[in-house]
């Protein structure tokens, strides 16, 4: 197991390095030069010389490899530089915004798992009935509807029926947990619906497979109650692939949040990444993109390790993959 963990960690590290290279390359070829933006060249009163000075001050007149080494060295000690837009260190911006995003992700996953897994189990157990067909139809529509549009529809509904207005201030969780939850529940629902549908469908198909196995027939034959067969024997064995899916989906959720946070104007990481990229605030954009991709890598790593822990067979297979 130790060897497996070390090997996984090494792979994760290599992937993170590749991520850093890609982030760096994409951001450094941004045509809207940060120096031009900062010196306000749009007004046409700034000379070439002044722009060159700003470039020099930012250190973006050096060779790319030097810039990368410099940046990577700082990133290694969690120093992402200073945001050109907010003027504060990127890591502080991220730290301030992270709790909102984390809270939405946790809420969304609670909703998705709490509704998705029971719905999937119900659907597999009542396969072929109208309950199953209704659930299948609802979930396939849930997969097709863009999550940010679902968010827009939720806003429309809230405003129309409850005269809701977008919060001007988003309470941090530790200041007033209840208020914070009631504010963030809506973005969480809109981003979680897709995950809910996916988990429900996946649970259904896994459970269908498991319920057809011989040992389930044996369990039924020896007279166990249906409840015990479904939950204790079938769901317990189907849990592993469901857990994997959930692990991957947490990572995907961060992607979905990019638009949803903008829709609801939640001051989280998603909104930050959009603003940084669109404003060509490259220290911030580089930092936050790296952090988001890093979360995905860590998430996948966690799933791998968990899988290796729960199912010893994968350790051998995993070594070759």
């Amino acid at each position: 197991m130790t060897g497996y963990i070390i090997q996984r960690l090494a792979t994760g590290f290599v992937t993170l390095f590749g991520v850093a290279v890609i982030v760096f390359l994409i951001m450094r070829v941004l045509p809207g030069d940060a120096a031009v933006m900062m010196s306000g060249a749009g007004s046409g009163v700034v000379s070439e010389q002044e722009i060159a000075q700003v470039r020099h001050r930012l250190g973006i007149d050096r060779p790319l490899v030097v810039q990368f080494a410099d940046w990577a060295g700082h990133v290694a000690v969690l120093d992402f530089g200073t945001s050109l837009r907010t003027g504060s260190p990127v890591i502080e911006d991220i730290a301030r915004r992270f709790p909102y995003t984390l809270q939405i992700v946790v809420l969304a996953m609670i909703i998705a798992i709490g509704v998705g897994v029971p719905a999937g189990v119900l659907s597999s157990w009542l396969a072929g009935t109208w309950v199953d067909r209704t659930l299948q139809t609802v979930t396939i529509i849930g997969l097709a509807a863009p999550s940010f549009w679902v968010g827009l529809m939720i806003i429309l509904g809230l405003v129309y029926f409850f005269q809701w207005s977008a919060p001007l201030f988003w309470e941090p969780f530790w200041v007033s947990p209840f208020k914070s939850m009631s504010q963030l529940i809506w973005p969480a629902i809109s981003v979680g619906i897709r995950q809910l549908a996916l988990i429900a469908r996946m649970t259904r198909s896994i459970m269908r497979e498991v319920l057809g196995e011989d040992y389930i027939r044996t369990a039924r034959a020896k007279g166990l109650s249906e409840k015990r067969v479904v939950f204790r024997h079938a769901l317990w064995n189907g849990a592993l692939p469901i857990v994997t899916l959930i692990g991957f989906e947490v990572a995907a959720l961060f992607g979905g949040l990019i638009v949803t946070e903008t829709v609801f104007s939640v001051p989280g990481l998603g909104q930050y990444v959009v603003q940084s990229i669109l404003d060509r605030d490259y220290p911030a954009a580089q930092g936050i993109v790296l952090v988001l991709a890093g979360i995905v890598v860590l998430g996948n790593l966690a799933v791998d390790l968990l899988y290796g822990l729960l199912d010893p067979r994968t350790r051998v297979q995993g070594a070759g993959a």
């Binding site: 792979t11 290599v14 992937t15 993170l16 390095f17 590749g18 991520v19 290279v21 890609i22 982030v23 994409i26 951001m27 070829v29 941004l30 045509p31 396939i140 529509i141 997969l143 097709a144 509807a145 863009p146 940010f148 549009w149 827009l152 529809m153 806003i155 429309l156 509904g157 809230l158 405003v159 129309y160 207005s165 996916l198 469908r201 996946m202 259904r204 198909s205 269908r208 994997t244 991957f248 989906e249 990572a251 961060f254 992607g255 979905g256 990019i258 638009v259 903008t262 829709v263 990444v273 959009v274 990229i277 669109l278 993109v289 988001l292 991709a293 890093g294 995905v296 890598v297 996948n300």
Partner: protein
């Protein structure tokens, strides 16, 4: 969604697609009829997509109004006999904008998914076939690309490239490349060890010929299925890019842009402006997902995963 499915089924061989083993062809008409009977949802989806594609192509003949020219006497008109789906803040007809917007969405959706799958397949098949250090390096690169949430990579690329239709296509194809590469590489690895590939090597086929004539056709089925899935994804993400302001720009009609007003103010004045573009996207995505499922069931009944 398919990523997960693909990764769990990745190891299942697709070798059964070799033309020699594939079922014999019946008459074209009977086959089509069988298809409609066995896959009614798939057939309906194909029909819906066809209607949308046709109305996008013939937009100038179908759209009742000019999609960009507004009527200042008809701002925020609710859906009515004159304007079926209402008008927006500039008095532009929503239905006409939806019909013209379908052009943008479909061109970008098809463009990005085809481009991404083609490049990804080229990389995946080549790497899987060659193996060795080229493969290892390419795989690490693909792993790194997979670590980006899809929309994030597309957003960064679109911001870098600027917002023309070609650039948005390239930006959206980027995240598809590693996913297609992984799937095609996995099937290549399986195919490489099969007897018919060994046989063609024995009779002296060149590597290029083996790849093009024997491996590519056999990776086709899973790739067709993921292409339809990515068609839907690309359309959603294109709308998201437009919504965020990193994609197509006004006054061009696009489904994402049409939703980009402030939802809180529109809720009381003109909810239909945000409502209909999303419905349009959902229908197209739903249809392409169902079509993909149907194609999968027809091409490979073994893969009935129902996700």
């Amino acid at each position: 969604m398919r990523d997960i499915v693909a990764s769990t089924t990745e190891l299942e061989p697709y070798a059964s697609f070799h033309p020699a083993i594939a079922p014999q062809k019946a008459g074209r008409n009977t086959r089509l009829w069988n298809l409609v009977q066995n896959q009614p949802l798939g057939a309906i989806s194909a029909l819906i997509l066809l209607v949308i594609v046709l109305s996008a192509i013939f937009a100038p003949y179908i759209a009742p109004y000019d999609p960009t020219g507004g009527n200042s006497a008809a701002l925020y008109v609710p859906p009515s006999g004159q304007y079926w789906l209402g008008t927006d803040a500039f008095g532009r007809d929503i239905l006409s904008r939806l019909i013209y917007g379908a052009r943008v969405s479909l061109i970008i959706g098809f463009g990005a998914s085809i481009l991404g799958v083609v490049i990804g397949t080229a990389i995946g098949v080549t790497c899987g076939y060659i193996g060795g250090w080229v493969d290892s390096i390419a795989q690490r690169l693909m792993d790194a690309m997979l670590a980006f949430p899809m929309l994030l990579l597309a957003l960064a690329m679109a911001a870098v490239l600027g917002s023309s239709i070609q650039n948005v296509i390239i930006a959206l194809a980027m995240p598809i490349v590693p996913r297609a590469a992984r799937i095609s590489r996995a099937s290549t690895l399986v195919l490489k060890t099969t007897t018919f590939i060994e046989a063609s090597r024995a009779i002296g086929c060149s590597n290029l010929r083996i790849i093009v004539q024997h491996i590519l056709p056999n990776t086709f089925a899973p790739l067709l299925v993921i292409s339809t899935a990515y068609l839907g994804l690309a359309i959603v993400q294109e709308a998201a890019l437009d919504y965020l302001g990193a994609g197509i720009q006004e006054p061009q009609p696009s489904w994402g842009l049409m939703m980009s007003g402030s939802a809180t103010t529109l809720a009381l004045t003109a909810p239909w402006i945000v409502l209909f573009p999303g419905v349009a996207i959902s229908i197209v995505v739903l249809a392409s997902n169902l079509l993909g499922d149907a194609i999968r069931d027809v091409l490979d009944p073994k893969l009935q995963r129902n996700v």
